[in-house]
Amino acid sequence: MTSSDLIRRTAAELADLLTAGEVSSRELTEAHLERVSAVDERIHAYLHVDAEGALAAAADVDRRRAAGESLPAAAGVPIAVKDVLTTKGLPTTCGSRILEGWIPPYDATVVRRLKEAGLPILGKTNMDEFAMGSSTEHSAYGPTRNPWDLERIPGGSGGGSAAAVGSFQAPWAIGTDTGGSIRQPAAVTGTVGTKPTYGGVSRYGLVALASSLDQAGPCTRTVLDAALLHEIIGGHDPMDSTSIADPLPPVVEAARRADVSGMRIGIVRELTGEGFQAGVQQRFDEAVAHLVDAGAEVVEVSCPSFTYALATYYLILPSEASSNLAKFDAMRYGMRVWPEGAPDASAEQVMAATRDAGFGDEVKRRIILGTYALSSGYYDAYYGSAQKVRRLIANEFAAAFTRADVLISPTAPTTAFRFGDKLDDPMAMYLNDIATIPANLAGLPGISVPSGLAPEDGLPTGFQVLAPAMADDRLYAVGAALEARLLAEWAAPLLDGAPDVTSLPMPAAATKEDAR
């Protein structure tokens, strides 16, 4: 088997090949590292590649397998990790200058579980700074490019993880989703991404953006792979006080059964139609028809408060972020910048100079907004009101789930847009997450699966499924059923239709240090 065959296999297939002894983890890891060397100059999915560490981990798995040790099912399948999760001994920058060169002294629980499952870590993936953005254009280290069109965004904030998986630079990857940062990149790159139930995956070692919204999850090319990875990283963790103690729902079994017969799927009126690109809506409608054909029943639900979700989110998130990011104070770790011509500057002055030099525009924007929303005299009108709308949104979800087993919508309102299109219009950028944000506010799980290519531009579209808390298995049942029907219709995976990245001309500014 050639290395170009290997990298196009699903993680589940690779796990089987490893178990059968048909391939070694070293071969697999080398194949992916070769691919990174061949294409990442164009894509820029990785901020840091750890060839040495990945090969050492692969050799260890191979040695243990050869010794007859009983190993976890996916042991030896390499993985990429978003640069917002701490990795002991490996740089963790969160896409920010303020953490340039920071090497954490500990592993996030998610990372520890990957290591315990024997997954070699290929490297850390690019992202919008501190996960604030929908395009990776806010990374301090330059944007990631969409494998379908190098002039377009790969989504964000986890554009690096989605593009790595979509350009076969990793079989699967870890992302994090605060308002859509796993699902929206999945939609615009033709890949799969799951945001698990809040509390379903540990946040220990996840550098917090908004603690009540953040959740790590899988980025993959198939629904089954997402379920397999979900099972590896999920479950209770005493190191996270918001971690749910109940056992994970049977996600892998649901993905394998792919059964939607008798399931009631609810179309959210507020998340379709107006504001959604024609081709996105068309592929969504076709996907619904597939699910009906597979035995599901369609109901329409209305959640009127969802029209306030974006405003609610952009008060709650900046408020929490302004508090969480206060720890970047230039005292214990990270960058320290002295104000110019002030060798006797105070700690406060050094902190302010450091944060000016170390944070990018979007981070500053949101910290200032959050500081305002939390300030005395404005708290009730802004943060207080947002918390009340958050309750309304959660209540409307609860009511909708009495009529439907899952809710569905397009994942993102448009296909991938061009770099720079929305960079100077923050509100236009924020609208990308209009359909994904409600689930984060309510703590519910969601998945995005590819629904095809928009006829007008030939770019991927995403189909979103949302479920009640701790009913993550339903996401996989619906996702896998849709995936199977679409695969039968297309006769090949969607990504087979993506251009050969190595044949594309090098984009004008695709080098790693071109951002600023």
Partner: protein, 103 residues
């Protein structure tokens, strides 16, 4: 800044907020941000027009309960590990700029 739902942020307001947030913004950044934040604020202020009278605020997706663990010693970072990434360290401590004024 009397009616938070209607008036917008001035450049001076942004400068004050930046000092509260300990970010030393340049003059150009202040000009730019004041305009952008006004647009964003106008949009997010719509939350106060939602039907939220008598609605209980929600801070978190699930009820928060305090979590405790047995009071047992467990491994933690060594001083060297904790200080390894410090901008400056001295005598097994973080070395920081002066906290108080000279006078």
């Amino acid at each position: 800044m009397s009616d938070p739902t209607r008036d917008s942020l001035t450049r001076d307001d942004v400068a004050h907020l930046a000092s509260l947030a300990r970010i030393d913004l340049s003059e150009a950044e202040l000009d730019h941000l004041a305009g952008e934040l006004a647009v964003i604020l106008e949009s997010v202020a719509t939350v106060s027009s939602a039907p939220i009278e008598d609605v209980e605020p929600m801070s978190h997706p699930m009820p928060l309960v305090n979590v405790t663990r047995p009071d047992e010693v467990r491994p933690s970072l060594s001083p060297d590990q904790a200080l390894a990434m410090a901008p400056d360290a001295e005598e097994q401590r973080f070395s920081v700029p002066r906290i108080l004024a000279e006078d």
